[in-house]
């Protein structure tokens, strides 16, 4: 079987699985899988850009996804009345002072000649800066957090259309990635990995504990939808015109409204995915991509051949992270809420990695395919596991302890089945389903 035929078949297969969900379960479930699949595909493209193209081992995906989510809150939610005057300006001032402290320390580190004097000045700057920062920051943050803590307690956002939050999420993630890249990109493979992993944890810690920012672990609910493409089901159900159109399709109002909302998201996500895929693909198949592969293969030689490895690494790290940020913003929009404790490395970093590797790292289409397939499995292996358990226990008498135990454990079979499928795919296609050429 030729390459393109095989690849098309693989995509058809995954498409078929989703369609099958539609036929056997419900179209809502199917399209939901599709939507999360689209978002996952975007994350996978981001990771693939970094790993597949440039060999950067970023396991801080979660952090950038979370920053995207933060952007949604900061852009699209309404401002909390009184929060800015209560302490918002103070917080900003404190943050600026904090940044100034770091800049000053770096400046001293670069400009002053090495020695005890330099070390002492740096330490002095950092310590004084830290206490000044805390002195301004703490009371102001407390003031903001005191505003109606059960439902607000944060600064709120800019009340802008939520679609703007997507690029903003990308920018926020890019900014963070730039800072991280500047400091950590010199590290090699596994060391970079743990550094990014740690930074992601730090980002989540901030998100969880800085209530004034986005309510911390108390979550932000009710994020607006990207109207008019995506409306609210209840409104649609109350719109006689819509109900009439639904009837014309032979659908009841509830199904039609839920489907139309989900399809609205699908459309938006698909546009973003196709755009990014096109860009990634063009980049890969250009001298730029060639240069990146060269850097991935052998940094020392690439450097000797005039390629600015550090800059290029930074570039691709920022780009890949920005893409993850965009995906994160999209996901928070889809969820309609920001849940900081939902950001777990297993789900947001390693699952995305699994997608890229199973799909085929270094190949954009592979990454996209992997994303759809793995997400499908992540959702659907649970019923498969339950089904398996039911099958196994079918012969056992009702009420037997073993049977109860087995059925009880079905939820854990999800992880087990997931692992099994992962191993099977990688066994028969160790370089991924659509390997790099």
């Amino acid at each position: 079987m030729s390459e393109p035929v095989k690849n098309t078949l693989l995509f058809v297969l995954v498409g078929g699985l989703i369609l099958l969900t539609g036929f056997t379960q419900s179209w809502n479930a199917a399209i939901l899988i599709l939507n999360m699949g689209l978002i996952s595909a975007i994350m996978a493209i981001g990771v693939n850009l970094q790993w597949g193209f440039a060999g950067l081992f970023n396991v801080g995906v979660m952090g950038f996804v979370a920053l995207g989510g933060l952007a949604v809150v900061l852009i699209s939610t309404p401002v909390t009345p009184g929060a800015w005057s209560a302490g918002g300006y103070g917080i900003v001032l404190a943050l600026l002072l904090g940044a100034a402290t770091v800049v000053a320390a770096v400046f001293v580190a670069q400009k002053m000649s090495k020695g005890r004097m330099q070390t002492l000045s740096i330490i002095a700057i950092l310590i004084i800066g830290f206490f000044v920062y805390r002195a301004i920051f703490d009371p102001n943050a407390a003031a903001v957090e005191a505003i109606d803590p059960a439902i607000a307690g944060n600064l709120g956002g800019l009340n802008l259309p939520v679609l703007l939050a997507w690029p903003a999420g990308g920018l926020l993630a890019a900014g963070a990635a730039w800072l991280i890249g500047k400091t950590a990109l010199g590290l090699r493979s596994d060391y970079l990995a743990i550094a990014t992993l740690g930074i992601a944890e730090i980002i989540i810690a901030i998100l969880k504990n800085e209530d004034w920012l986005a309510r911390g672990v108390k979550n932000v609910y009710g994020i607006p939808r990207p109207a008019p493409v995506v409306g609210y089901e209840v409104d649609l159900q109350n719109d006689p015109g819509f109900v009439a159109r639904a009837e014309w399709f032979g659908l009841d109002a509830v199904t039609a409204s839920t489907l139309s909302v989900k399809l609205g998201y699908s459309l938006l996500f698909l546009i973003v995915l196709l755009m990014l895929l096109w860009m990634a693909q063009k980049a890969l198949r250009s001298p730029w991509g060639r240069m990146m592969r060269a850097i991935r293969d052998n940094e020392v030689a690439a450097e000797a051949m005039g390629k600015d490895v550090t800059r290029r690494h930074l570039q691709i790290f920022v780009l890949g992270s920005a893409i993850c940020g965009i995906a994160g913003a999209m996901m928070t929009t889809l969820d309609g809420q920001l849940t900081p404790s939902a950001y777990q490395p297993l789900r947001f970093t390693f699952l995305v990695w699994v997608m890229v590797i199973v799909g085929g790292s270094g190949n954009n289409f592979g990454a996209v395919l992997g994303a759809f397939l793995i997400w499908f499995l992540w959702v659907q292996v649970e019923p498969i596991g339950l089904w398996l358990m039911n099958l196994i226990t079918a012969g056992m008498p009702d009420g037997s302890a073993l049977k109860a135990h087995l059925i009880e454990s079905a939820a854990h079979m999800r992880l087990l089945t997931m692992g099994l499928i992962l191993l099977i795919v990688l066994r028969f296609s160790p370089r991924g389903l659509i390997p790099e050429k």
Binding site: M279, P287, W288, V300, Q315
Partner: protein
Amino acid sequence: MIVVEDVHKHFGGFHAVDGASLEIQKGSITGLIGPNGAGKTTLFNVIAGVLPPTSGRVFMDGEDITGLPPHELFHKGLLRTFQIAHEFSSMTCRENLMMVPGAQSGESLWNTWFGRKRIANEERALQAKADEVLEFLTIEHLADHKAGQVSGGQKKLLELGRTMMVDAKIVFLDEVGAGVNRTLLMTIADTIIRLNKERGYTFVVIEHDMDFIGKICDPVICMAEGKVLAEGTLDEIKANEHVIEAYLGTGLKNKDKLEAQT
């Protein structure tokens, strides 16, 4: 053209380069010889910006280039090859060459999306050039082979080929000859001479093959234990007893015995 001023490079307590000073004349092909571990490669690495010197300065055309990163030196026209081949193993041999020239417009992301025409033209020219170099190195049949899967000598050839993709001012060759067939090496020698004559490249060549050195190099510098031991024409060097003792030796001891046997 290149002036090395009292360069030291220490690894822990070990002085790999220990106060080397030398000058490379513009337009020359300078040979750099010396026993294994004399510090030749280390000195190259210091000049080429791979390793920061412990102390000392390096100047190129009067400009202090100490500590500049390799990629900047590349753009100043300073190229080097590696003693242990550093091919881009998952790329084809042709791509290994095509990636070399700097300032390709296709290396800007923006152009990959919005400047496709220009890139296509540039690529065509680059490919022609790369194929020419491959042909010269007698490995044109490997153009589409992954560079990681060619023979040891072929990797060394690729290594040399990369320096031929751009107009360099000065090229540092670290044992291009090791592992390269001698007949081919002589052709390479001819090319080096041609590049030197026609394009005005300056070369600095580390090599242990005296025939090769003899064919192309003047002057020759001999290093030992991190210092410059002797400097002069090859004949002068060959006659220098320190050099003989430390480096050249006096030939096979068992040779006559072997001959006596047969």
